[in-house]
């Protein structure tokens, strides 16, 4: 362990992480705004009209990034929960708890925008195929995680119990991802792959990637804000929080 350089483990203490998070939030907010404006511009003005679906397909530029984020955030949440189990760090479970509402929001957005896309494209608002059902289950898993955390009063038991539940549910994420390969579903298969060239126009791919970055930066900014509130609430009996509250008054 080098004696110079950043001592990363120092930031696993809520007291040290609190000011750092505060300084990072404006940067991520700015990045989210920049990517958002750029992404929406490309989505609406640069990406061409789809030859089969017309203009309605443009909701894909919200739907796909939201769906990706919903799965990604769940995995990150499960990783933080595992870190809380393994190393017994309070901040890890605070981060997991802060991630859940944002993940649930993106899951809801994915389902909602998917419905709006489904009506013009398939003629129905909803269908019980594998991918939609497993995404709905993901929403229920997020809600279950948040309810379990809120239902237990003792913070350490709450963190560990809900962390275990999140780990049990993480198996749903690969099911969502591979559902279009394993079953004949109404939802289209993967058009973007690491191995083959994408089957869509380059500007559409750009728009999706930029909007994903926008949602990612937004998630980081919002989660850091939420974890700061979580830190203040759980550490309210410490001297540094009391001093902070006193000087804010």
């Amino acid at each position: 362990m080098s004696s110079s350089g950043i001592h990363w483990f120092k930031y696993s203490s809520p007291a040290s992480f609190y000011p750092v998070a505060g300084r990072l939030i404006p940067w991520f907010t700015a990045l989210a705004v920049v990517f958002g404006v750029a992404g929406l511009y490309v989505s609406f003005f640069v990406a061409p009209t789809d030859f089969r679906q017309g203009e309605a397909y443009r909701i894909m530029f919200i739907h796909v990034p939201a769906a990706w984020m919903s799965m990604f955030i769940y995995v990150v949440m499960a990783v933080y929960a595992t870190a809380g189990f393994v190393w017994n760090t309070r901040l890890s479970s605070m981060m997991a708890r802060s991630l859940a509402p944002t993940g649930a929001l993106f899951t809801f957005i994915a389902l909602w925008t998917g419905s709006f896309w489904g009506k013009p494209m398939w003629g129905t608002w909803w269908v019980w195929d594998a991918r939609l059902t497993s995404e709905l289950i993901l929403l229920f898993l997020y809600i279950g995680y948040m309810s379990l955390y809120a239902a237990i009063e003792e913070p350490r038991r709450a963190a560990r119990a809900s962390g275990l539940f999140a780990l049990v549910g993480v198996i749903n994420v690969p099911i969502i991802y591979f559902s279009v390969q394993w079953w004949n579903t109404l939802h289209q298969g993967a058009s973007i792959s690491f191995k083959n060239a994408p089957t869509m126009a380059a500007s559409m791919l750009t728009a999706i990637v930029v909007m994903t970055l926008c949602f990612w930066m937004y998630s980081i900014a919002v989660v850091l804000t939420r974890v700061r509130a979580e830190i203040l609430e759980q550490e309210r009996h410490t001297t540094w929080v009391e001093a902070l509250v006193r000087e804010q008054r």
Binding site: I137, L148, R157, A161, L164, G169
Partner: protein
């Protein structure tokens, strides 16, 4: 090793026999819940036989879920669960015993009475047979997954609703393939695929759920 399992199994079966109301409550809830559907949907045979597999499976799910609260709560309240956690036998093994006893008390009666309810809703003999088999394979999965939920919510207020919230998303695949098996038989396709997948769920749950439940118990009792 099996001695510990046998001991817990015998103890829980004895307790269940001494308190038959728990077993009978689950059974009667199942019967009543299924009987509500003809009253609500209307008595046309075609409609009823079409929705029968789903209705019976959903009622079985809800009945299994309602019985989860009592899996560990009594032992938790009088301190026996703590003693089990401290015992030299592995807690996962003791959990397997408890889950087996729970299934024998709440899952197996559902399997046995399901054909009668299927007849009530107008299912044919082939479908009744597959319904029984799908429930026979599926209800242990419900007990195993439910054990995790029951262990996570030990001693919490509002426990019943909270268990439902945790456990129902995990039950959905079992429901889909269980009811799907009966639907497949009625459509003339085989139920092998669905039943194989249910059996796979059973194996998966039997391997991972006891260990997860033991971890959840340790979280809840400390």
């Amino acid at each position: 090793m099996l001695a510990g399992l046998q001991c817990i199994l015998r103890r829980d079966m004895l307790l269940a026999v001494r308190r038959p109301t728990d077993v009978l409550n689950t059974l009667f809830f199942f019967v009543i819940a299924v009987s509500l559907f003809p009253l609500g949907v209307g008595p046309q045979k075609e409609t009823l036989s079409q929705i029968a597999p789903g209705v019976i499976w959903v009622a079985a799910l809800l009945a299994a879920m309602l019985s989860l609260g009592r899996m560990f709560s009594r032992d938790y309240e009088d301190g026996t669960l703590e003693q089990m956690a401290l015992a030299p036998q592995s807690l996962s093994l003791l959990v397997v015993g408890k889950v087996m006893a729970h299934w024998l008390g709440s899952g197996l009666p559902l399997v046995l009475i399901a054909p009668l309810l299927g007849l009530q809703l107008g299912l044919d003999t082939n479908s009744l047979y597959i319904l029984m088999i799908s429930l026979l394979v599926g209800t242990p999965v419900l007990s195993l997954i439910g054990a995790v939920g029951a262990a996570l919510t030990l001693g919490l207020r509002g426990g019943g609703v909270l268990i439902s919230l945790l456990v129902l998303p995990l039950y959905v695949p079992v429901l889909i393939f269980g009811a799907g098996a009966v639907e497949a038989v009625r459509a003339g396709l085989g139920a092998q695929g669905h039943l194989s997948l249910l059996a796979a769920f059973l194996v998966f749950a039997a391997v991972f759920a006891p260990w997860t439940t033991a971890a959840a118990i340790r979280i809840s009792i400390e």
